[in-house]
């Protein structure tokens, strides 16, 4: 348990992806079965333990210490799990000579009935160290919140076994904790686990962005073009009565889209974009947002924002694996198969006809629907390949929007950037003439060169007004302020931000040292984009 607790403590404070991967692979390498597999399941959200309510935790600790002292402690720390882990009194007598392993903790928690759950938890806390107590409480209160996605954990497994992460993703849904067979394979001690489960995920094919000069070398006749829909890439797999809707990284998202999952009564594996509305009237990105990041979804929301799938590839139909066939052949199969599906839930991503690159560029710049973010190019003769091969698939995005905003706050970065103010919150003007105020509209931490970073950092240090921990507010008024040209992909309505807008994928595109702060854009400029 102590090693798992230490891993959690390190992960939560390690911002860099590579740092997290090193910590995870070292853990998987040095810890034995079944502890490491249970840790993996805890991280990917595949470990089921009956939950303990925070109120119960509080009751347990109050039975053991002065409530006033607990109150002072909780007020100071602010986090219940952490407070309880720290103040939990060591039971009288010698400290236990054995601190419980993760497997023992999980076994005891899983075996506990609803009524003796709190007692079992208390005994575990009695026997554990401070950081182990914190980890145990996190396990029972649900949600580790350590900034590690299931995808990252799988990448760490891939690093451990020197295999492609796609191989792990492909196997994943057929495996169960504590994954002994998986670890044995990754360590070269056993064969790769058999793919016995039905409706497994197929690793997806990804595209490269069109770079400068790429198109000149390509013959337009070799490529098909489609609109690039700005929804969620999904894979719908049905096999032997098992239905699964996967995200691009192989997470099962069926639970969030029960309406779409219900319509999946076929035998195939289809690749496409999940959108909201219906094939005749595709919803906008803000409509789609109503369905994102929800664990469960009410019937009302399902009715108002129905999910459907715009299909663009078929990986399997019936028993036949189509991935080795050319795009042209797969497309043909898909076109005839799609007619057998529920037309309110599945449609075909139309091909875009174009004689040459110039004509396509014009279409790309003026797409017919706001949720289109560019065009996709797919080589007619290419098989469906895993990963991101260079050549067969390209994405050619619409040019980003830009806005001139004023730097308001700067925060210190991490790792290589820990001595630089590198995360910037910027705002635009709002309010009546003569009483303009800056309202924050976004935050960006990349897009600038190393040299520009140095310049902004110096500016921040020289123009600091106030400090709040790692954050500084900088001088920003009508007369003085640094104008940043910010590029972004789109704008959503937001009730969480004062400005009412949230930018998608904002980055600093230029430093406008030349531009007076008063001439930066106004909020109305952004609001106009929302309504278009």
């Amino acid at each position: 348990m102590n090693r798992f607790a230490e891993l959690l403590d390190r992960l939560v404070l390690t911002p860099s992806r590579n740092g997290k991967l090193t910590l995870l692979t070292d853990y998987f390498r040095s810890v034995e079965d079944p502890d490491r597999g249970l840790a993996l399941a805890a991280i990917t959200g595949d470990l089921s333990i009956a939950a303990v309510k925070p109120a119960m935790l509080r009751t347990l600790v109050i039975e053991r210490m002065d409530p006033v002292l607990f109150g002072y402690s909780y007020d100071y720390v602010g986090d219940l799990a952490e407070t309880v882990s720290l103040v939990w009194p060591q039971p009288p007598g010698d400290p236990p000579d054995h601190s419980p392993t993760l497997a023992e903790v999980v076994a005891k928690l899983q075996a506990a009935s609803r009524s003796d759950g709190p007692k079992v938890l208390a005994r575990l806390l009695d026997s554990a160290s401070i950081s182990a107590r914190f980890a145990i409480i996190k396990l029972v209160t649900g949600g580790l919140r350590i900034g590690v996605s299931a995808r990252l954990a799988k990448q760490a497994l891939a690093d451990l076994g020197q295999v492609d992460v796609a191989e792990i993703e492909e196997l994943w849904h057929g495996l169960t904790p504590p994954y002994a067979g998986l670890f044995a394979w990754l360590e070269g001690k056993a064969e790769r686990p058999e793919k016995t489960a039905l409706a497994l995920f197929r690793p997806v094919m990804l595209s490269n962005a069109v770079g400068d000069g790429d198109l000149e070398k390509l013959d337009p006749a070799d490529y098909a073009a489609e609109w690039k829909w700005d929804g969620i890439r999904v894979q719908a797999v049905c096999e032997g009565g098992v239905r699964r809707l996967y995200s691009r990284t192989g997470d099962d998202v069926s639970g969030a889209f029960p309406d779409l999952a219900e319509a999946m009564d076929f035998s195939a594996a289809l690749d496409g974009e999940l959108l909201v509305g219906d094939p005749q009237a595709t919803g906008t990105f803000s409509d789609l947002q109503q369905r994102l990041n929800r664990k469960s979804v009410t019937p009302k929301i399902q009715q108002r924002y129905p999910a459907f799938m715009r299909c663009y590839d078929a990986l399997q139909i019936g028993d036949e694996d189509l991935r080795a066939l050319s795009f042209r052949e797969r497309r043909g199969r898909l076109e005839s198969f799609i007619g057998t599906l529920d037309p309110s839930r599945f449609d075909l991503s139309p091909l875009v006809e174009f004689p040459d690159w110039t004509a396509l560029e014009e279409l790309r710049r003026a797409p017919p629907h706001p949720i289109i973010e560019g065009v996709m190019l797919k080589r007619w003769d290419s098989p469906y390949l895993t990963g991101r091969p260079k050549g067969p698939w390209f994405k050619w995005k619409r040019d980003p929007h830009t806005v001139d905003a004023v730097l308001m706050y700067a925060q210190r970065g991490h790792g290589k950037r820990s001595s630089f103010y590198s995360d910037y919150t910027f705002g635009v003007w709002s309010g009546p003439e003569g009483a303009e105020e800056l309202v924050p509209v976004g935050k960006a931490y990349f897009g600038f060169t190393d040299e520009e970073l140095k310049q902004i950092d110096k500016y921040v240090r020289d123009n600091t007004i106030e400090r709040f921990g790692p954050v500084r507010s900088v001088r920003a008024d009508r007369r003085e302020g640094l104008v940043l040209e910010v590029a972004f992909e789109g704008l959503n309505r937001s009730t969480r931000h004062k400005s009412g807008v949230a930018m998608r994928f904002p980055r600093i595109s230029r430093l406008r040292w030349d531009k007076p702060a008063a001439e930066a854009d106004r909020i109305e400029t952004l609001q106009a984009l929302l309504d278009s």
């Binding site: 939560v12 911002p15 740092g19 607990f70 100071y76 820990s418 921990g469 790692p470």
Partner: protein, 359 residues
């Protein structure tokens, strides 16, 4: 008659029953003034925050040891440290107090006893007309190879700090924390580890702990640590090979895999740019609280403190046998509450000018 009894009772409840029996009232022996803790019969201050005629200094941290007093009484090491920090003319006259030696000041007896906080740190016992108060300054009980261990002194009133005066503060053994640092250094050999540590005491303790854990490569240090670390070495505390963390000594590659120690503020500064993809570490009791580490951008918190944690504070209060506890700088209310539950008289002593955040 009636009024007389009630005033006697009032007096008894203010100063403890003993002053009714003839001892002097504790608050007449020591009480707070804007300059600091003052002893009227002895006419001296303990750790005054403004220049005074006579100052008794517990230890060399800058909020306790200030320059500009006319006469200073402190341990030899504290006087040396003040000289290093402020220059030789930091006080009109100085007098070194040997630990355990009894010194009379205007009929008041003072004795210095080790406090275990940093090199030279001492508690000051003040005794007059049968009453003894111990002003402990800052202290800790965990063993520390860079200074003498705390020595409990029996007293009537014990003045305790409360920097970590909440039950959430429980410091782990320092060797475990250093082991985590060394483990991380092995896990990330391509990066450097920057350890933030206060220049007096904590920095040298971390160096010494690294040596005790078998780390024998050079330790790179920020310039602000050089004089004090040299002084520790001259006092016979072996810190091993220390190298200045200067850019002149080479490019970024020189610090690959290095452990660098500097004052915490330096790591937010441009100074830190010379290190390759550094992992920021901070050696402090505050690192017990995750949010504190997170807010400060600390990736590897090391819970190493020169102050007592909750368990040390409460155990020490019991050991001194004091019938009354005065609680100063920090989270006074929780410690006062604990004393209440234990049936020990306690009150916060409001002294101004001390950092209750430094560790």
């Amino acid at each position: 008659m009636y009024a007389g009894v009630s005033s006697l009772l009032q007096q008894a409840s203010r100063g403890g029953i003993s002053n009714y029996l003839g001892k002097m009232r504790a608050s007449d022996l020591l009480h707070p003034r804007p300059e600091g803790l003052y002893c009227p019969p002895g006419d001296f201050f303990i750790d005054p925050v403004r220049p005074v005629n006579r100052a008794l200094i517990t230890h060399g941290h800058s909020d306790h040891a200030r320059s500009g007093h006319r006469a200073v009484l402190a341990t030899r090491q504290t006087l040396d440290i003040m000289g290093l920090r402020y220059g030789e003319g930091f006080a009109g006259t100085t007098q070194a107090a040997a630990l355990g030696e009894t010194i009379a000041l205007n009929g008041v007896t003072v004795t210095f006893h080790p406090a275990g906080h940093v090199l030279g740190s001492a508690q000051i016992a003040v005794e007059h007309q049968g009453r003894r108060i111990v002003a402990s300054g800052d202290y800790k009980r965990q063993k520390d190879a860079t200074c003498e261990s705390f020595e409990p002194v029996k007293c009537d009133v014990f003045i305790t700090e409360a920097t970590f005066g909440l039950p959430v503060f429980r410091h782990p053994p320092d060797s475990e924390e250093i082991a985590r640092l060394l483990k991380s250094a092995a896990q990330f050999p391509e990066r450097s580890h920057l350890v933030g540590a206060y220049a007096l005491g904590k920095a040298q303790r971390v160096m010494r702990l690294l040596r005790d854990a078998g780390f024998d490569r050079p330790i790179y240090i920020h310039g602000a640590l050089a004089k004090l670390s040299d002084y520790y070495q001259n006092q016979g505390i072996d810190l091993g090979r220390l190298e200045p963390a200067t850019v002149e000594s080479g490019g970024k590659d020189d610090f690959t895999g290095a452990i660098v120690i500097g004052p915490p503020s330096a790591f937010a500064d441009r100074w830190a740019r010379r290190f390759p993809d550094p992992i920021s570490c901070f050696a402090s009791g505050w690192m017990r609280i995750r949010q504190r580490a997170k807010q400060g951008g600390v990736e590897l918190p090391l819970i190493i403190s020169d102050h007592s944690d909750w368990d040390e504070l409460t155990a020490t209060i019991k050991e001194t046998g004091a019938e009354e506890i005065w609680v100063t700088h920090g989270r006074e209310e929780a410690l006062v509450r604990w004393c209440e539950l234990e049936g020990i008289a306690a009150r916060p002593l409001h002294l101004v000018g001390y950092e209750d955040e430094g560790d």
